[in-house]
């Protein structure tokens, strides 16, 4: 693992830039633990102050320091995106690999469920959840709902790879070497779907963060947990742009963009590294 990161840093400039961006964002998120102000308190600093030596990124119309507010917001947003991505990856790997490998009625049942999730219209469902749950709607709950809605498409992708892996002869060798189904899926097939998983993790994080921001901006969210979307929501409520409080909008947007770009670059370069073809070439192998 250490070696992989070292190699990537040494030979891959996309990876370097991506790591740099994400490190900045993570530092920011980490700083939230040292915030001098509780995240939900308002009017702790003079409102509407532009960026200055005292308030690096300025202050909001609600009397909050943009820098410290941003740090807690990006922490929550990142954690949210990561949680959605992880949960939905787990579902799609389990469903995709087992459906592809086992085939037969297991496959039919799983794919029927899968296809139902693909055709469910997402946005209305989320808003429906918001209206049903109202005050009990927390960020964690939203993450769980979104991950159970966001796995279906990728698990179909994984299934099609798993189906072709199943017909490859080394799967037969593994069976007759005494591996259990679980071992075959984990040791033999998982490495081949890792590239898909990585690139879809990125897509999924971007998708969930984007959706979270959208929902929050529209006000369909628990606005008491500070997130990037929540910040933009409050800025809009106070017509920050019109009022010339540009720093209230610009810095959250920049941070989110840096996160997207950083994640993207890292995913692309890691993908190249773990792709079986490139792995084989590095090991000195022939055709995969």
């Amino acid at each position: 693992m250490k070696r992989i990161i070292f190699d990537l840093l040494k030979y891959n400039s996309e990876f370097r830039i991506g790591v740099f961006l994400i490190l900045i964002v993570m530092c920011m998120a980490g700083l939230s633990f040292f915030s001098p102000y509780p995240p939900n308190d308002v009017f702790v600093v003079p409102p509407d102050a532009p960026p200055s030596a005292d308030y690096w990124l300025g202050t909001t119309s609600r009397g909050q320091d943009v820098f410290w507010q941003l740090s807690i917001a990006i922490r929550n947003t990142l954690a949210f995106g990561l949680l959605v991505a992880l949960l939905s990856r787990v579902i799609s790997i389990v469903v995709g690999l087992s459906s592809g490998y086992l085939g037969g009625w297991v496959d039919r049942v799983l794919m029927a469920i899968n296809d139902t999730f693909i055709v469910i219209p997402l946005f209305p469902i989320l808003i429906l959840f918001y209206f049903v749950l109202r005050d009990s709607m927390s960020t964690i709950l939203l993450a769980v709902i979104m991950s159970s809605l966001g796995w279906a498409y990728d698990s179909r992708l994984i299934r099609s790879v798993a189906m072709s892996l199943k017909t490859r002869e080394f799967t037969g060798t593994s069976v007759f070497s005494g591996m259990t189904i679980f071992e075959i899926l984990r040791r033999e097939h998982l490495p081949y779907v890792l590239p898909i998983i990585f690139s879809t993790t990125l897509n999924n994080m971007n998708w969930s963060i984007g959706l979270e921001v959208t929902l929050a901006v529209l006000g369909f969210m628990d606005i008491n947990t500070p997130t990037i979307g929540g910040m933009i929501y409050w800025a809009n409520q106070h017509t920050a742009i019109v009022a010339g409080i540009w720093w209230w909008i610009t810095f959250p947007v920049l941070t989110v963009v840096a996160t997207f770009v950083g994640l993207y670059l890292i995913a692309v370069s890691i993908n190249e590294y773990i792709d079986p073809r490139s792995r084989l070439s590095r090991m000195g192998g022939g055709q995969s």
């Binding site: 190699d7 040494k10 189906m163 017909t167 490139s278």
Partner: protein, 331 residues
């Protein structure tokens, strides 16, 4: 004299080059190969497993993509305008000749049929544009063509994994021949077929070849097929062409020590002589032996073999050998 060849391969070199995260590797899978294929001729190619046959086919078909790189030489088809080398040609021009002029049955292509698509749709996706006509016309044509390969029309409804290996292989042959190309490259197209079907498929390839006067480059490990089908035969070892000539000469008077071993290792029905495989390990192409690449396993190896690479020499009309121990006309 010999007519203008339809394919002329000159000093072709193609290497696999890869540099991933600091590990550099170069595999000379096609190393300085020259030969001609005349119109109306079936040129066979045999050789050791992983001696570069498939790579040579890919290079000739212009399917050069990293990590494979063209190092030098050229392959010129006569149906290309003169002096346009296949490798310099623009993609649009290449796309036009592919399938209608040049078709390529890839090794193991039976395993790359899209597993999620029925055979009928694979045919439609692939050949309908080249054939034209109405959908039902196309369907009849397909069915007729499949029947020449002894395939039942019901295979059209099957998914690839529902067919046996041999059936899938015939499907790919059907795909490659349905457009009646001028030049067919066939890389082990009949390995999964029983001998009766194999003979019929070879007969069909032969008859298509006769009908349109096309030429075929045919790779197989089955020396019986070479003996029965091919007009010329080339033998490859470790990225090099070591012997080439009329098939009869190669079978009846093999010159290169590797060819000799190969011909003598073939069992026959009705004789019970003990046959043996080649001793020693096959060469590692990433780090090939110096001089003649066969020298570590060659019973005739002498000092010069270890240092100097033998050149192809003419030893009889159209029969060329690359070996220090075989006397030839000149370098």
């Amino acid at each position: 004299m010999t007519p203008q060849p339809i394919l002329r391969v000159e000093h072709l070199k193609a290497h696999f080059r890869s540099s991933y995260f600091g590990v550099y590797r170069e595999v000379p899978a096609v190393d300085d190969i020259s030969f001609d294929v005349a119109p109306n001729e079936i040129f066979g190619l045999a050789g050791e497993s992983s001696s570069g046959k498939t790579t040579l086919m890919k290079t000739i078909a212009g399917l050069i993509a990293p990590p494979l790189e063209l190092i030098g030489g050229k392959a010129q088809f006569s149906f290309m305008p003169p002096e346009t080398n296949l490798f310099g040609a623009d993609p649009a021009q290449l796309a036009k000749i592919r399938w209608s002029k040049l078709s390529y049955i890839m090794q193991g292509s039976m395993n790359v049929l899209n597993p999620l698509r029925q055979i009928r749709f694979i045919f439609r996706d692939f050949a309908a544009v080249h054939i034209g006509g109405s959908r039902s016309d196309f369907e009849t044509k397909t069915v007729n063509h499949l029947s020449r390969l002894r395939l039942d029309p019901s295979v059209l409804d099957a998914y690839p994994h529902e067919l046996s290996g041999g059936m899938r292989q015939r499907v790919t042959i059907a795909l490659a021949t349905i457009c009646r190309p001028d030049f067919i490259i066939a890389d082990e197209p009949t390995t999964a077929l029983d001998v009766i079907v194999q003979k019929e498929v070879l007969g069909m390839i032969r008859s298509i070849q006769r009908e349109i006067g096309s030429s075929v480059l045919f790779v197989t490990h089955d020396m019986g097929v070479h003996a029965a089908l091919t007009d010329k035969l080339g033998i490859m070892y470790a990225g090099c062409l070591v012997e080439a000539g009329p098939t009869a000469d190669i079978f009846n008077a093999p010159q290169h020590p590797y060819t000799r071993h190969l011909i003598h290792s073939l069992p026959r029905i009705g004789d019970t002589v003990q046959r043996t495989g080649l001793t020693g390990t096959p060469p590692n192409l990433a780090n090939p032996p110096s001089g003649c690449r066969f020298h570590p396993r060659c019973p005739l190896a002498s000092d010069i073999c270890r240092t100097e690479r033998p050149k192809m020499r003419q030893i009889a009309t159209e029969h060329r050998v690359a070996c220090h121990a075989v006397a030839g006309d000149q370098a």
